[in-house]
């Protein structure tokens, strides 16, 4: 029984719903506030078509990911890398992935603190906010993936009714803003692709979560559902903003959904976006949890540790220390977002099909030799 308990601890089982919501959480990120404006800038009101295209691409990538992971159902991405590229190059890859996901954690945590300093608490210290942000993060992740999965699931249920508030100001919007479709041809859609694709990054975590999944047959279905939920969310935000703002007005705001919320006024609450913003914290959390888990999990593999808590503590302290000495400005953060986009293109676009091909070839060669 003891051995089984240890096994269960090292291999917690995720339900399919938890798998879905961990990935949705990673995908629906800060971009949700900026995406409508970014899309409008490059592709006008046809941005939503780019989103659809990006969704299709991420589905194809998801197919490659699941099919690669299927070969060794108990291996995480980190095990796969060391298995196929040897310990040295493999570990180098792992280190790069860990570094990248930790970078994402840093960027998301900092943008969160930044937005709060800007909108709600102009006099607070950024490391204070950061310390507070890290507290629940630590509480969730110290208990392992299972609690993280539950957390993301629960937060999704608590969040899913929130976008409905965006419908309230729509009575002042104009559906005509959306028309005509494809007024400038396919070119703007094509230009919007990289922005739209950024919204779907996060599906690469399926590599990581696949071995923990209880029902492995549902993996592909789960990934499709996750991508679709993400698509619906982003489409909703984009459409609402396009309808509410005119195509030119939307480019003047950094966070159009928040501006839109400002127009909501109840008899008992003014400045509704200030009330709304704390709830938005959950969106950051659902992104931070899977990526921080990825970094912690990768480092535990590299150092061959059983217990992930010391590494988690070290990472948390690192984030905190960094926030004391360095608080990035918004231009800095935008630059980091661009970096994130560039690296993610490699990891999410080129890596899954190439890795799949490589694994497939290795297996074919083995088979051929064996025969």
């Amino acid at each position: 029984m003891n051995i089984q308990a240890v096994k269960e601890q090292s291999h917690p089982k995720l339900s399919t719903l938890q798998f879905i919501f961990l990935i949705v959480g990673a995908q629906v990120k800060t971009g949700i506030l900026t995406l409508p404006r970014d899309l409008a800038e490059v592709s006008g009101t046809d941005g939503w078509i780019s989103l659809l295209a990006a969704w299709l691409i991420s589905l194809v990538m998801g197919f490659f990911i699941i099919h690669t992971a299927k070969k060794h159902p108990d291996d995480t991405l980190f095990d796969l890398l060391t298995r196929y590229f040897g310990p040295w190059i493999g570990n180098l890859f792992v280190l790069a992935l860990v570094g990248f996901s930790f970078f994402i954690v840093l960027v998301v945590a900092n943008i969160n603190v930044h937005i709060f300093l800007l909108f709600a608490l102009p006099h607070a210290s950024n490391y204070g906010l950061m310390a507070l942000l890290l507290l629940p993060l630590y509480m969730v992740l110290k208990n392992g993936l299972n609690v993280a999965g539950r957390y993301n699931e629960l937060l999704f249920y608590m969040l899913c009714w929130m976008p409905l508030f965006l419908l309230v100001p729509l009575k002042h919007g104009h559906l005509l803003n959306l028309l005509p479709v494809l007024k400038d041809g396919w070119n703007p859609v094509w230009h919007g692709m990289s922005t739209a694709m950024f919204s779907f990054y996060g599906f690469e975590l399926a590599y990581l979560f696949y071995p923990f999944l209880a029902n492995k047959k549902a993996a592909l279905k789960g990934l499709v559902i996750a991508n679709s939920i993400t698509l619906v969310t982003y489409l909703f935000f984009t459409f609402v903003c396009y309808i509410y703002f005119s195509p030119d007005e939307i480019k003047e705001y950094k966070w159009p959904p928040l501006i839109e919320l400002q127009s909501i006024e109840f008899s008992f609450v003014e400045r509704f976006e200030v009330v709304f913003l704390p709830f938005f914290l959950m969106v950051y959390f659902t992104t931070l949890i899977p990526y921080l888990f990825k970094s912690v999990h990768g480092l535990t593999r590299i150092f061959h540790k059983q217990d992930h808590k010391p590494i988690l503590r070290v990472l948390i302290v690192c984030i905190l220390l960094l926030s004391i000495f360095y608080s990035p400005s918004y231009t800095d953060l935008e630059k980091y977002f661009d970096w994130w986009g560039y690296v993610a293109i490699i990891i999410c676009f080129f890596f899954p099909p190439l890795f799949w091909l490589y694994v497939q070839t290795v297996h074919l060669v083995k088979k051929w030799r064996g025969v």
């Binding site: 608490l121 629940p136 509480m139 609690v147 709830f279 959950m282 959390f285």
Partner: protein, 520 residues
């Protein structure tokens, strides 16, 4: 004692001299098996020496009538039922005429008759309230159960009064409590497993469960944990709970302690285990979920719509009790722009005279209302009421007029206090009252952001909590929609066909599909 002696042999000798004045030392196995003598006078001397000093030890010598054999009775006054000793032992002994030198054939009429050979057995039997009967020339004694100690009448528990439910509560005797539960579940599958806990106290701890419903893994875990307890004594159910809970560093109660037999019975029927501790009127129920602390036994005897409404009310009260003072602080310190102008003006007017920042204002009020509550708790009822009235007048009127706190703050504090009293479980209610202080402090520093973070930290904590290895946060976080029928909204009883998933019951179905009142 033995593991102790291996590590520090010197100290052990000193201890022995202090605590054992008699010659028998039960920690040595040899001594434990030491048998009683045949000589009655010698036995009496040894027993008196063993118990010495014990003024409540009563020794009664009787002559067995026909053959003049010497008989001796030993018992501790107060622990035995005198009536039982008179009617069932002394009277038959003095009246009987059969000539017999066999101790087993003596005409005692107690309900239970055991044989004791060693001093250890006899000693413990005496302490448990048995009467020990010894006879000249016999090398063993009879242990007769004549227990009868001072007992309380069965009353309705004060903290868990019910409007439509039964008005019986548990008492301090385990056997009676078990009987009270058995009255509700007349089923051969209702099993009772007894364990002895505590080296000195030797409290009887009984696990009561339905064998074909309860999950055997959970039962094993609970039994193991109780058996591992190595303490002097367990006085109260709460103590037992602290020794066996999953996370001792959590503010949340992980077991339910109830004084109501009907509550205990309904939990047993749902696949949970009731732990009855002798000497304590509280019965511990495990495993529990967070949501079940917001449910009361009355919920099932009222109309389902009404009780659903009340459950929703409790949920709202939960949030109000935790977050209302901190929302007040956060709004007034950082986010006054969210208040509409008119409200802001009226709040501003009431706060214009107040020299304190909102956090101090709130702390003063919250601490004083906690003091009032605690003061009224242990005072006799008439004085307790006076405390309430004095406190109400001082806080409600004088403090506002003196310009220490604002009117709005008084409303907030009153709302919070009332909301915390709505929570049906006193343990959870206490937790909530405690939790709002750190959240108030965080809110005074970080406004709504701080409140939101505290909320998420709370969720994280509740999600990670387990009660005997089952998820504390079910049916929300491992999402079990079938359990939602008895969560925030109580569905009509005929729709609740299965037991809750959170207890992982072996037998899930609890009732057949009930078509409703329509006649065919």
């Amino acid at each position: 004692m033995r593991w102790f002696s291996r590590r520090k042999p010197k100290k052990q000798i000193a201890r022995n001299e202090q605590s054992y004045s008699h010659e028998l030392d039960y920690s040595q196995n040899q001594e434990k098996n030491k048998r009683i003598e045949q000589d009655l006078q010698m036995n009496k001397e040894i027993l008196v020496k063993l118990l010495n000093p014990a003024p409540d030890l009563i020794v009664r010598e009787v002559k067995s009538q026909p053959n003049e054999k010497q008989i001796m009775l030993f018992f501790l006054e107060g622990l035995v039922d005198k009536q039982a000793v008179n009617n069932n032992i002394l009277r038959p002994l003095s009246n009987h005429t059969i000539q017999s030198s066999d101790i087993m054939k003596l005409p005692v009429t107690t309900s239970e008759k055991k044989i004791g050979h060693t001093w250890y057995e006899i000693h413990h039997a005496l302490l448990e309230g048995n009467t020990v009967l010894m006879m000249e020339g016999q090398s063993f004694a009879l242990l007769l159960n004549t227990q009868g100690w001072p007992q309380r009448q069965i009353q309705e528990p004060q903290t868990e009064a019910s409007i439509k439910g039964a008005h019986q509560g548990f008492v301090e005797t385990a056997s009676q409590n078990i009987a009270l539960i058995r009255r509700y579940i007349i089923n051969p599958e209702l099993k009772i497993q007894q364990l002895i806990v505590g080296r000195r106290g030797r409290s009887k701890v009984s696990l009561v469960y339905l064998r074909d419903v309860v999950n055997p893994e959970i039962l094993d875990k609970l039994t193991n944990r109780i058996q591992k307890i190595n303490v002097d004594a367990i006085i109260n159910t709460g103590e037992l709970g602290e020794f066996i809970e999953d996370n001792p560093y959590s503010p949340f109660p992980q077991f339910l302690t109830t004084e109501r037999p009907d509550t205990a019975a309904s939990h047993i029927l749902q696949g949970r285990i009731a732990v009855v501790v002798d000497g304590s009127p509280g019965v511990l129920i495990a495993p529990m979920t967070f949501l079940s602390y917001l449910q009361a036994v009355d919920d099932y005897s009222m109309r389902w719509m009404v009780s659903s409404f009340i459950r929703l009310l409790r949920f709202v009260a939960l949030f109000v009790a935790i977050f209302l003072p901190s929302l007040y602080i956060a709004t007034l310190s950082y986010h006054y722009e969210i208040l509409p102008l008119r409200l802001l003006i009226s709040v501003g007017q009431s706060r214009a005279q107040i020299p304190l920042p909102p956090i101090f204002e709130a702390l003063i009020m919250e601490v004083s209302i906690e003091m009032l509550r605690e003061a009224g708790l242990r005072l006799p009822a008439p004085v307790g009421q006076t405390v309430g009235i004095v406190g109400g007048i001082v806080i409600g009127q004088a403090a506002v007029q003196a310009g220490i706190v604002s009117n709005i703050m008084v409303i907030v504090v009153a709302m919070t206090a009332i909301a915390s009293f709505i929570i049906p479980n006193p343990d959870l209610s206490a937790t909530i009252r405690l939790l709002r202080f750190p959240i108030m402090l965080v809110a005074s520093q970080f406004g709504l952001y701080g409140i939101m973070i505290s909320f998420m930290a709370l969720i994280a904590h509740i999600l990670a909590l387990e009660s005997i290895g089952t998820a504390y946060s079910s049916p929300f976080a491992p999402l079990w929609l079938s359990d939602w029928k008895d969560s925030i909204i109580r569905f009509p009883l005929r729709n609740m066909r299965i037991r809750p998933n959170s207890t992982k019951p072996v037998q899930q179905k609890k009732q057949e599909h009930h078509g409703g009142p329509k006649e065919p």
